[in-house]
């Protein structure tokens, strides 16, 4: 059955009636309130199936509601529904699911009879009645929200190659910037929402899963691998239902302190009524590295081809290359089903992924159980639990004399003995993690006008980092071993309530209140032993000398919020709210923090004069504040116990302290619009935002001559500004029964500027020539630069301390398209551009200094051949500055790193039902590729490769394994 778009218009005109009633109806349907009691003599039944108009896949969990009577239900796990006891006569049935356009269909119900009504829904990026819970008090419809909210419905990108949550977000949401960092499997990505706004407090967003806050800590960075594993990667993308993103302080006020970097909330799949439906997903594929380094270096810097170097590497593998095709295999099995009062979604996964360097790779397995218990119409319990076990084997990498590619690229000038680079892989580095996330959510709707929501949850993680140099290891003959155990428990207690009332003059009121408490407990235990007596596997205390560390950090925080939203005629909404926050790491003189918010949204399209072809248009504006807390010891003057005089107990100063220390605050205002046109075939979302982080936590250095200058003292003194635009445009050029072609464009700009630090402080050194300086982006590169690059035959003029450029991209483009043919063949592609930033090619600089950077060898030979009294003859000063060690420097090797990458492409075929037999519901086979193409003028290993990756604010490339390509075949079967 096909659907006439005219009915959407009808639905809109229907919504213009009785706004409060419609709001209440929405609440009713959300809470799964079902049938009003009516006698069978007056009623009939409607049943049918809701499917995707693009792929014909059944849509599970779609809401079906007859707004006039409040009758509603959800589709079951096969997309089927039954509305019983529907009053006889003409009815309007509305179908709604996140990520798809809402449809309203007329149907005539006959007494005592069953009417079939199948509906196909089409994807639509913006739907004004979609329910949103992130950044709101309780739930809210998109039309009511004055700030921008991005949603990613993972069902829509099921055919894309996704290996983690960051892949889901990459290139798909304007204002979400994701940098890949490394080609080691297991590496965390750098995630920024609207850029950097904190010098010392971290800039990553808060992550929630089903209302439970996740840890904000990495699984431990180490110098040896120069990367850190990301806890975000523990979530199996197969379990994700949708993701909501609120990007700035205007939207995150109700999250209080810690939310200045934005909030990403992930919702996992829930059960659905019906017989169990099983889903199996199998990935098989390879990770492959292309040519490494400059094209003119035919050996790929000894990585692609290790046979041609002189002197030879006796450990060069038989294949002639250090690179391999890493085998990728992922298996996921899930089942969902249930009855009226209990539904379930249970899944398990086993993954194994090899990296492109021998010994590198990761494996994991996990299990999830999401259970819903609905004892009555007004009460719902949701219990979600997820356990994941993950093992990552790293190779030594980055700024590290023992680094594998450092030694391979440097040939016989590396640190491995006799150029035996395989021995670098004898250094074993591993991260093993256990992760358990569990939460209980309770929704109680004692009446249509009032709701309560309670979430209690815990994110527990334990990671074990091991670093093992065996006995007779080339770099440390006696060997050593380090074992670091990190245990982190983040507990969430979150309550909110709201009460809706009708007021005179088409006004409505939604009053909300609530509070959250978080308890973060972190324990680090580290043991170290060195000096092994002989061969064999070792533990820490096998060492002749041992050392241990214990670090315990406990923070508590919490706050209360109040919010009032006044609506007028379901088209204008004004929201005012505030949050009071306490935090254990605030200074003892500080007290509590208060964050206010104010927002407005206006559905201008609700006016009768609005053109029919323009489905919906919302104007919105919001202003709000959020914060970021100092560290647990920053407010205190403390001393540390250390060892002095060869093992005697001693004390040494540790922190300066500041009793009045409070959070840094980000105040943001944003304004924009959301629009849907031509029956949802064109949607647009535009936002301008302007953030000012004041009372910024700036590490201020006391005067060295005061005796405490070796420390920094965190103080609330700085100001940082970010502003930019976010544009999302989706359109569907072709939509017929057999062809659906959609295109999405996302464009975002982020202009960051450090406005001030503290009087007299001109710069804060972030690391690796990245600095925070007033007047420049946070962070920016400052170092040496050649002032006469195009002069020929003269000595280069090198000036130090020159501004080079920002270290983070200030503009990003995301382009995606998908074409679905005959509801069975789907082609997708996603490209992303990031630009405006610079990256230091530390690899190139160091290789050049060793005469091993092929593009420099010509200049170096010419320089050597020139007579001593005319060394620069025929040479560009810029080339001399870059290629001759006496003149060169890191600044000269810091260059624009704009890039375009084809992040993913796929072709998917849904096997026709007629081939499946009775037992299978659906089967799909998909060919997927990731990072298939990179276009850049950056001449280092990769414009995304970065030392210390997700754990650092600075960016720098220095012998970091670049990201690789992946080719995957995915089989997906439902039965």
């Amino acid at each position: 059955m096909t659907f006439s778009f005219k009915e959407t218009t009808h639905a809109r005109s229907c919504r213009r009636q009785a706004p409060i009633g419609r709001m209440l109806t929405a609440v009713v349907s959300m809470a799964l309130l079902c049938n009003a009691p009516l006698t069978a003599q007056q009623t009939g039944t409607i049943q049918g199936q809701v499917t995707s108009g693009t792929t014909a896949e059944p849509l599970v969990g779609a809401q079906i509601v007859i707004e006039s009577s409040g009758i509603g239900t959800l589709t079951d796990n096969r997309g089927k529904y039954t509305l019983a006891a529907v009053p006889a006569g003409q009815q309007e049935v509305t179908f709604r699911i996140i990520g798809y356009g809402t449809e309203t269909r007329p149907v005539t119900v006959t007494v005592g009879a069953t009417t079939t009504l199948d509906v196909q829904l089409y994807e639509q990026a913006i739907e004004m009645d979609a329910v949103i819970v992130t950044g709101t008090a309780g739930t809210a419809r998109r039309r009511e929200i004055g700030n921008s909210v991005a949603q990613v419905d993972v069902q829509q990108i099921e055919t894309s190659p996704i290996s983690g949550v960051s892949d889901v977000l990459q290139g798909r949401v304007a204002g979400v910037q994701i940098l890949g960092n490394s080609g080691m499997v297991g590496t965390g990505s750098t995630i920024r929402l609207r850029g950097n706004k904190s010098i010392s407090g971290g800039n990553s967003p808060l992550i929630y899963v089903d209302g439970v806050r996740l840890t904000s800590r990495d699984y431990g960075y180490s110098d040896e691998m120069a990367q850190a594993a990301s806890p975000l990667a523990d979530l199996d993308p197969n379990d994700i239902d949708r993701i909501e993103i609120v990007k700035g302080a205007a939207a995150t006020t109700l999250y209080g302190t810690e939310a200045a970097g934005g909030v990403i909330q992930i919702f996992t799949k829930k059960g659905a009524a019906g017989e169990p439906v099983w889903n199996v997903s199998v990935d098989q594929g390879i990770n492959r590295m292309g040519h490494v380094g400059p094209e003119s270096d035919i050996s790929g810097m000894n990585l692609n081809d290790c046979t041609v170097q002189v002197p030879a590497d006796p450990t060069c593998p038989e294949s002639g290359s250090w690179l391999r095709d890493g085998y990728v295999q992922r298996y996921n099995l899930s089942v969902r089903g249930g009855g009226e009062t209990m539904t379930y979604y249970v899944s398990g996964n086993v993954d194994s992924e090899e990296g492109v360097i021998p010994t590198q790779g990761a494996s994991s397995w996990g299990a999830r159980g999401n259970f819903s218990f609905i004892p009555s119409d007004d009460l719902r319990f949701q219990f979600n639990s997820n356990y994941v076990r993950r093992d990552i084997n790293w190779v030594p990498d980055g700024s590290n004399a023992e680094g594998f590619i450092t030694n391979v690229l440097r040939g016989d000038r590396g640190s491995t003995p006799d150029n035996r680079d395989l021995e670098a892989l004898d250094l074993e580095l591993g991260t093993a993690t256990h992760r358990f996330i569990t939460g209980l959510g309770v929704n109680w709707t004692p009446m249509a006008s009032m709701s309560h929501r309670l979430n209690v949850g815990v994110d527990y993680s334990n990671s074990e980092y091991t670093e093992y140099r065996p006995w007779l290891f080339y770099y440390l003959e006696d060997g050593n071993r380090r074992n670091t155990q990190r245990t982190n428990r983040v507990m969430t207690l979150d309550y909110s309530g709201s009460w809706k009332t009708s007021l005179p003059a088409s006004l409505s009121s939604t009053f909300s209140w609530g509070g959250q408490a978080y308890d973060d407990d972190y324990v680090l235990l580290s043991g170290y032993g060195e000096g092994f007596a002989g061969p064999g596997d070792k533990v820490v205390d096998s060492g002749a000398r041992t050392e241990s560390n214990e670090n315990r950090v406990h923070t508590t925080s919490g706050g209360l919020f109040l919010q009032e939203m006044i609506g007028w005629d379901d088209r204008l909404f004004l929201t005012v709210g505030g949050r009071w926050d306490g935090f254990s790491s605030f200074g003892e003189d500080f007290g509590m923090a208060f964050y206010p918010k104010l927002s407005a949204s206006y559905m201008i399209s609700e006016h009768a004069i609005w053109p029919e072809w323009w489905d919906a248009m919302k104007l919105r504006a919001a202003i709000g504040e959020s914060g970021r807390a100092p560290g647990p010891f920053d407010a205190l003057r403390t001393w540390s116990s250390v060892s002095g005089d060869e093992g005697q107990p001693a004390v040494t100063p540790r922190s300066v302290g500041a009793p009045d220390l409070g959070p840094e605050r980000t105040r943001e205002w944003e304004a924009g619009f959301e629009a849907a046109l031509l029956n949802g075939r064109v949607t647009a979302d535009f936002t301008y935002y302007n953030q000012k982080t004041y009372d910024a936590l700036v590490p201020v250095q006391p005067m060295p001559s005061s005796g405490l200058g070796v420390f920094t003292q965190l103080r609330n003194v700085g100001e940082i500004q970010n502003h930019g635009t976010e544009t999302m445009l989706s359109f569907i050029p072709v939509r017929t029964d057999n062809v659906n072609w959609d295109v999405g464009i996302r464009y975002a700009t982020t202009q960051s500027e450090v406005v001030s630090l503290i009087e007299g402080l001109s710069s804060i050194y972030i690391g690796w020539r990245n600095e925070a300086r007033p007047g420049f982006a946070l962070p920016s590169y400052f170092h040496n630069a050649v002032m006469n690059p195009d002069a020929v035959g003269v000595e280069p003029i090198i000036e130090n301390d020159q501004y080079i450029g920002p270290a983070y991209p200030n503009s990003t483009w995301g382009l995606n398209t998908s074409i679905a043919l005959w509801k069975s063949l789907t082609l997708t592609a996603l490209g992303e551009y990031q630009g405006g930033h610079y990256l230091q090619n530390g690899t190139g600089y160091q290789q050049m200094r060793r005469g091993m950077w092929v593009p420099c060898q010509g200049v170096q030979a010419e320089y050597e051949a020139n007579p001593d009294n005319d060394k620069f003859a025929g040479l560009r000063a810029g080339d001399v500055a870059k290629c001759i060690p006496d003149y060169s420097g890191y600044g000269i090797w810091t260059m624009p790193a704009d890039f375009f990458k084809l992040r993913s492409a796929s072709i998917s075929y849904q096997i026709p039902d007629s081939w499946l037999g009775e037992r299978l519901n659906s089967a799909t086979v998909t060919l997927q590729g990731r990072n298939l193409l990179t276009i850049t003028d950056y001449d280092g290993l990769d414009p995304e490769a970065a030392q210390d990756g997700s754990s650092a604010l600075y960016r720098m490339e220095y012998y970091n394994i670049p990201p690789f390509r992946s080719y995957i075949v995915n089989f997906r079967v439902a039965f």
Binding site: A401, R413, S415, P417, P446, M447, A448, S449, M450, G497, W499, W513, G515, N551, R552, T555, T556, G558, G559, L560, W580, G582, F583, S584, E588, G591, M592, P632, F633, L636, R637, T638, W639, S640, S641, V642, S643, G644, D645, G647, Q648, P649, A650, V651, T652, R654, G657, Q701, M703, P704, S705, S706, G707, L708, G709, V710, G760, L761, G889, Y890
Partner: protein
Amino acid sequence: MTNRYNVQPRTTRIAVLALTVVAMSGCSDKLFSVTNPGRIQDDDLNNPQVVDALVTGMSHDFSVVHDNNAVDVAMLSDEMAGTGNYEETRLEGRGIARREDFNYNYEALHRARWVAETGIERMKAIEGFTYEGNRLSGRANLFAGMSNRMLGELFCAVTYDGSAALPKSAAFERAIPFYEEALHHAELAGDQALIHAALGGLAQTYLALGDGAKAAEYAAQVPTDFVQFALYSPNSSDEESQVWSYTHGRNEMSAYNTFAVIADDPRAPYTDCTDGSCKAAESADGSSPHYRQEKYPEVGSDIPVVKGTEMRLIQAEVAIQAGRVDEAMQHINEVRSVHGLDPLNASNAESAMEVLKQERFLTLWLEGRRLFDLDRWDDPFLQGGTIFYPGVAERARCIPLPETECDTNPKVACTV
């Protein structure tokens, strides 16, 4: 429909508001109060039983920076060639001392000073601790003296607690009373080693101040075989010697082309790594031959701070200045005999001074003292001497006030 529930929202609202008021009141302090173990609160140090750890901490804080200073002095002076991968080491090898490369040296040396000086005041005030005549009081004053003396020796100018830039002599003059008080407590406590260390410190400081007579007077009281060390240990990474790390661990500086190689003296031992006897034949710059120092062959090798042999050389230098060449050579040869070396002769003050300079090079090799010696003597090496890299026109003769002091101290204008 809503009438039945009219009471409940109002009640809830009142409850919410009441909860808000409670939370915003003083209760919040306790609600969000946690205690984290591991760190020591400042007030907890006011305990007589902590003084031992406090003074050991002074030793720790001095040692933590002294090895760094020894590394930088080695490369800035003619002791070692800067042959490293780090930009700073290559610049220092060329005699270039950028302000930004010496922030830590100044900050950490001032920390050592501050910890000792404020520790002394704390010790005086701690109830139950007897300051007068206590060996620990003597040690604390010794570390205060040593830190101030090193500030003066290393830096071209000094500042204290945000003062304007002061001449080196201000640091030396500040060191003197600490040494004197160290001597006072050491004598009362009968601690002979502490007495010799304090006397040696006074000799070094008066020599730096140009008061040869007093320097020689104090030096004469220290026996030749006395050594006081800054202590290092493999016990913890904090206690590891950076001199070892820069030469055995990372090959950042090399004895190649230095006087140590020419002299072939037991006081300046090294290994020629080009014969394959080390992990790498080259230094970290990828091209320079690595000649590895062996004076500190272990990560825990201690670095001398006061030595009786230096005292003899102080006496010798003062004697040369007074024209007493024979006496000077007698002191010098006493030092040489300690190391099993044949005596040397000098016919006049000029040649005796040349011998003395070489003897100080070898005796105090890699102890963080050479740059100040070159500065005191206005040694020609500072005029553009070269070891390995092309020398700049004029090498740094001392370390400039570092960038962080320039940036944070409004009374200092680092314009040059």
